[in-house]
Symmetry: C2
Subunit: 117 residues, 2 copies
DNA sequence: CTCCTATGTGAATATATGTTCATGTATAGT
DNA sequence: ACTATACATGAACATATATTCACATAGGAG
């Protein structure tokens, strides 16, 4: 665990300062959980389609070329993480994006990817 | 695969338009790969510490309270995905962030998390 | 050259994750 | 009540991922 490298560019006090500045102990866990939601192509496709229109489960399945069950499972994850919200009308459940931060993230990420050679 | 829901809010032509607007076929795969890098607490910690200072592997291991080998494995992933760059000095390898998009992503994500109840 | 230190890497293991299959639930129509 | 449709869910399976362990490599000191 504690390797004894003496090569520190920064002093022990600075290290303590960095450690002290950690917003909260579980911040990284929560952030990781947040980003993990975006870390799957299927979920990204669903989010992309929802960024264009409110859609029901079957339509999402058609668009994303996924099975209905797979879509439903992924939508549950998106729901639990508050990325999407639902509106029920009879037997049909319409999904839409929960807020606009998602678009922001898409933008920053696409910009980053665009830089690659 | 193709479920026969007739509940479409949007017409078939609109669906085609949405499908046609997909930037590239593999865009979601690349985006997912990108976000997946952020989807791990250990990597986020490493990135956070590197956002504060250029650091060597042993220091990162101390700060993140991880084994040296685990750190090295994760740094390899960060390297291959161009999140960090290295500078070698003797036997010591100093790591630092590749660009500033990472900070932007942290900000947007933290803002999103902050909204949760 | 030899030893020591800093880091990288492959194999193994445990755990997490995504999809499919089968089935359950809810609601509309008859 | 019965059937059909839209969606949700649990179990099973396959794959992916993170960590550990053991060892390899590289460079500096003697």
């Amino acid at each position: 665990m504690i390797d004894k490298c003496l090569c520190k560019l920064i002093s022990a006090e600075e290290i303590d300062k960095i450690l002290g500045q950690l917003p909260q102990p579980d911040t990284m866990e929560r952030l990781a959980k947040f980003f993990k939601v975006f870390g799957d192509p299927s979920r990204l496709k669903l989010l992309y389609f929802l960024s264009r229109s409110e859609l029901c489960v079957a339509d999402l399945a058609s668009l994303a070329k996924m099975g209905q069950s797979a879509v439903s499972h992924q939508l549950k994850i998106l729901r639990l993480n508050r990325f999407v919200k639902t509106r029920k009308e009879g037997t049909v459940v319409y999904y839409s994006l929960e807020d606009m931060h998602i678009q922001s993230l898409f933008d920053v990420a696409i910009e980053h990817i665009g830089e690659e050679a």
